[in-house]
């Protein structure tokens, strides 16, 4: 029966296509490390790395819960993050060779920071904000690495994550990363505005401001159309405010007001910073003033909320 044969062939073709599609999909969602050439031969400068570390806010998540702020924090991990996908626990990223990441190479570290890939080659969870860190320059990664290696080691072994199926399958993150890991810039800034360009780098990259200030869709992907327009507070009641120049945002703040807030924690009407932003300000207050002005210039260039 010719008709039968034809549909049989069609089915076969469809199956082959599906198999090819599945294979392509499997490949497309596989963990991929960056090209080793990206960081090969780079010399890290620990003093510069200390500033990158502040902007990145690494200690906020990786220091032991309740640890006092320190010049050289112990990144023993253990802080827990309760999310709609389950409970994550920050790992030990101190330079301890077994309990921490002391045995890692710069290439291993760059794979985690820029691609969200662990040393064992598996996908990392985006509770680690690599979606933003992916925009960092290789030199900043190398400097940060030099500083990380100069921090005190800790042999603490925090418990693993507590995640229900299917979120406990790391391989499944590949699909999420296809949707969410896009290191292109979000906001257009005039190329000749060096200050706002620097600000964009700090905010969209290592500063990962959008991870708190931008709402997410149901899959947990940052909504670029509502960039920095405010979001529910992940830590409990309240909100993370809109920081665009829109009417509900900080349009009434001058660039100087914004830079002073980031340095001192005081708003123009002398309310004081609080919540999870207090630690961000403690970190940013140690940056060169020029960088705070750069962040302010960028925040003025962000499209305002309606």
């Amino acid at each position: 029966m010719p008709g039968r044969r034809r549909s049989g062939r069609l089915l076969g073709a469809a199956a082959a296509l599906a198999a090819a599609g599945a294979a392509a999909f499997w490949l497309a969602t596989a963990p991929r490390r960056p090209d080793p050439a990206l960081t090969a031969g780079l010399q890290g400068d620990a003093a510069r790395g200390a500033l990158v570390f502040r902007v990145g806010g690494c200690a906020a998540c990786h220091a032991a819960p309740g640890a006092e702020p320190a010049e050289r924090p112990v990144l023993s991990g253990g802080r827990r993050f309760v999310t709609p996908f389950g409970t994550f626990t920050a790992p030990n990223v101190s330079p301890h060779p077994e309990a921490g990441i002391g045995a890692w190479s710069l290439q291993d570290f760059a794979a985690a920071m820029l691609r969200g890939v662990g040393r064992d080659g598996r996908h990392l969870y985006p509770a680690f904000p690599y979606v933003s860190y992916a925009r960092m320059t290789p030199q900043d990664v190398a400097d940060l690495w030099a500083w990380m290696r100069a921090l005190p080691p800790s042999d603490s072994r925090p418990p693993g994550h507590d995640l229900p199926f299917p979120f406990n399958i790391r391989r499944g993150l590949g699909l999420w990363k296809l949707l969410a890991l896009d290191p292109s810039w979000v906001v257009d800034v005039p190329a000749d505005d060096a200050l706002a360009m620097r600000g964009r780098y700090l905010v969209e990259g290592p500063g990962h401001c959008a991870e708190c200030h931008t709402p997410r869709n149901a899959l947990g992907v940052l909504d670029r159309a509502r960039w920095l327009q405010g979001a529910p507070n992940p830590d409990g009641p309240g909100v993370v405010p809109d920081i665009t120049p829109g009417p509900k945002g900080i349009g009434g703040w001058s660039e100087e007001d914004i830079a002073w807030y980031l340095e001192s924690g005081f708003t123009p009407d002398y309310d004081s910073v609080g919540g999870s932003m207090a630690e961000v300000v403690r970190n940013l207050s140690g940056l060169p003033k020029e960088d705070l002005r750069a962040i302010a210039a960028y925040l003025k260039a962000v499209p305002p909320s309606p």
Binding site: N233, G236, P237, G238, V239, V240, P241, K248, W260, S264, G265, F266, D269, Y270, D271, S272, V273, G274, G275, S276, A278, E279, V281, R282
Partner: protein, 156 residues
């Protein structure tokens, strides 16, 4: 309750007068029957004192030791009175006070105590010049951050 109201008037008057004398205070008067309104008013006055001090830190106004002392005293007054205005049940409505306050009142009172101690010490320190003043200012400002970090939630 009457006692509390009288305390409120005293605290607001003390804090308010000093702050009003120092900074232009254009906010609406507190509703003295409403502890939320009273504590927010006290906090606004604290903000007014801080604004004045920050102006000197930023170089917008010359450093004046008398202004510094008066502003620290105004804040200390507020710190001494503040604790009375977080009665049970005042966690609802138009407040940004964290619900954690009523789960751990002792912890919150300790934060108020530290604020009272640091503002008293700052007022007594009478720093001679701007360089000596800056760390004193920083110590007091650290109280704003750490208390708002643990005990206050932004709602808008």
């Amino acid at each position: 309750m009457r006692m509390i109201t009288r305390l409120a008037v005293a605290a607001v008057a003390a804090g308010g007068m000093a702050a009003a004398a120092l900074a232009a205070n254009d906010s609406a008067p507190a509703d003295l029957n409403d502890p939320v309104s009273v504590r927010q008013h006290m906090m606004k006055n604290v903000g007014g004192s801080m604004k004045l001090l920050a102006g000197m830190v930023k170089g917008e106004a010359p450093y004046d030791a008398r202004v510094a002392e008066a502003a620290f005293r105004a804040m200390n007054n507020a710190a001494l009175g503040l604790g009375a205005f977080f009665p049970p049940g005042s966690d609802a409505g138009e407040t940004e006070a964290s619900p954690k306050i009523w789960q751990d009142m002792a912890g919150f009172k300790a934060a108020i105590g530290a604020f009272a101690r640091d503002t008293a010490a700052a007022a007594a320190a009478r720093p001679a010049d701007l360089d000596a003043f800056k760390p004193v200012f920083g110590k007091v400002a650290g109280n704003c951050k750490s208390c708002h970090e643990a005990w206050r939630v932004k709602k808008e």
